[in-house]
Amino acid sequence: MPARPVAIRAEGLWKTYVIHPPGTPRRFGRRPGVEFHALRDVSFDVPEGAVLGIVGRNGAGKSTLLKVLGRITDPSRGRVLVAGRVASLLEVGTGFHPELTGLENVYLNAAIHGLKRREVRRRLDSILGFAEIGDFLDEPVKRYSSGMYLRLAFGIAAHLDADILIVDELLAVGDAGFRERCFGKMKEVAGSGRTVVLVSHEPATLRALCTHALHLERGTLRAAGATEPVVGAYLEGLATGQPVVHVDGDALTLVGRQASCRAATPAGQEVHVELTFEVKRDVRRLRMGFSFEGPSGVRLFQCGPAPLGASPVEARVGERLRCVVACRLPPLAPGPYSATFLLEGEGGEPLLHVSGVRLFEVPPDPARPECLAPGFRAALLPAHTFELAVLR
């Protein structure tokens, strides 16, 4: 079988920044620099038509890698070969000018991504169909709701027709319906032989979209290959490690965490989780989402995102928020259990988004040795029957 054509080939990429850590003595009024390697000798190939998900903790070099691939910054050493036209969507609506109308911004934004006017005109109906902004087309975008803004921006992005699309957390915004549509569009793009490189912190997104994954850890390539083994191993590493802070908008901090899991009946366990947050600045229209994850990142259930208490909830500086989740679950497989939570303020602005918050560990059950086998990836151990028979 002939090898698939390559869309991106990275060869020994390094990216080195000079940083000036506080504490080092000043010389001539400046601190001497210290080298910091954001990427260390990263090499990989991405075949055409692949959707590559990049995973790693904050500061692992994911964004730097995207910037190198998107030609925004040069690598310090090594090189990348990219086949065809590249479009980087590191932000929603890059270059939108608030004073210009929606239509004007379509042309501007498309030109910034290298599209010709003639090409935009041909796709205009399709872009506007996706954006659904109707009568607001000739209004300046500063009067748009955040949803309209987002739809217009993504509408353009989806029609860039680049051979390689570089996406940073784009799907982390917007309401569920919109995300669903973006999802569909991304799959469509990938299905048409184009290549997508994306960064996401959402295991569900990665698993649903990606054909390949790449795991970065402090600038080095930890693993690369098919999605499941790479993402699974990454999540497993997360579950045993520190929580990952995706967004920390200085409005709220987690100050208390209590969790318990006790066998209530032979058929079930009581899980009780209590999270306490301190409010550091006034927030309105608070919403919260909570999800509960088992070993290797398996999501067991999710609550919300929903308004807290009676809507709209306001919280003032110095007040505390408490989130209590109680449920009864079938017996749990041994391993670490953690939570992800997301607190949003007005207009869906993320205030605090943390995953991998350790709750408790379920000890191995000697009666269930299969749970310790390497291929075991489940979180629930319900009473069940399992039969294997030869039929003659």
Partner: protein, 286 residues
């Protein structure tokens, strides 16, 4: 790993034209070919700058007229009436408006071009395009203001009994000249300001000093004789003098203009070279 695994060691085959992204070192070409392929973005930026500049203003594009006219009125009163500068026998108002038109174009083009990259940091760190388009479009937007300000010239000439002649048809030459001269200085400054914001702060008075060093408000004949040839080393002396010739038919030195044009061309080349040298670090230091 399987044949479509992403670390597969097979010989890479590409089905599309390949771009190599590697560390850029040393002096490189000006990349004019690539610039040409991005010309549509230049129009888009230009158009954005023009459309957005006078949005939500009551007087709109009239500001492009009001600014040079009031400046002219102030100088005509202070220098023409009170200090009684001799404008080689020409009406001072027309004389200085011509100078201020050319200089105003240069000054605002340089100022906006120099800050264009810093002001577009949200673009520079998010998407690739030839960065030099930013200062170029700033110069383009200043050209539009210049053209609008030109509209007041002919009425002003008629008021002061200056008969427009065929020489006025050569004004576009001056326009292109000033555009290229300001592009050179603007591009150079835009490249430097990204790392050293000091130049952004210093620019206002640098430009002011430069204006007084250029015969904008006074005729070149006011300079001591031995200094005059040197004045043409200033890339703006040539276009200011030539523009006056277009409007008023005053004397102009052909050799001097050639010298001025040469320094402007040199400035443009230097600006482009320095810019391509520093632009590779923009995303990291901006």
């Amino acid at each position: 790993m399987s044949e479509d695994g992403i670390t597969a060691a097979h010989e890479a085959t590409f089905s599309r034209p390949v771009t190599v992204l590697a560390p850029r070192r040393g002096w490189r070409g000006l990349g004019l070919h690539e610039l040409w392929s991005w010309r549509e973005l230049l129009w888009a930026f230009l158009w954005r700058d023009i459309r957005s500049r006078y949005r939500q203003t009551a007087l709109g594009v009239a500001w492009a007229l009001i600014r040079p006219l009031t400046t002219m009125a102030i100088f005509a009163f202070v220098l023409g009436r009170l200090a009684r500068i001799d404008a080689d026998g020409q009406p001072y108002a027309v004389f200085t408006y011509a100078g201020l038109l050319a200089w105003g174009f240069f000054g605002s083009a340089v100022q906006t071009a120099a800050l264009s990259v810093v002001h577009a940091s949200h673009l520079v760190t998010k998407v690739y395009f030839p960065r030099v388009l930013l200062p170029l479009s700033a110069v383009g937007a200043a050209t539009v203001d210049f053209l609008v300000a030109m509209l007041a010239l002919v009425p002003l000439m008629l008021v002061f009994d200056v008969v427009p002649s065929w020489r006025l048809l050569l004004a576009p030459v001056v326009m292109v000249w000033v555009a290229l001269a300001s592009a050179g200085v603007g591009i150079l400054l835009a490249g430097i300001v990204v790392r050293y914001r000091d130049f952004g702060h210093a620019m206002t008075f640098l430009l002011q000093a430069w204006m007084y060093a250029t015969p904008v408000l006074y005729p070149l004949s006011l300079l001591p004789e031995p200094l005059r040839p040197w004045a043409y080393l200033n890339p703006m002396t040539g276009p200011v003098e030539l523009f006056r010739w277009c409007v008023l038919g005053t004397d102009v030195s052909a050799v001097g203009c050639a010298l001025s044009a040469a320094t402007a061309a040199l400035g443009l080349l230097a600006g482009l070279l320095v810019f391509q040298r520093v632009e590779r670090h923009f995303a990291d230091v901006i």
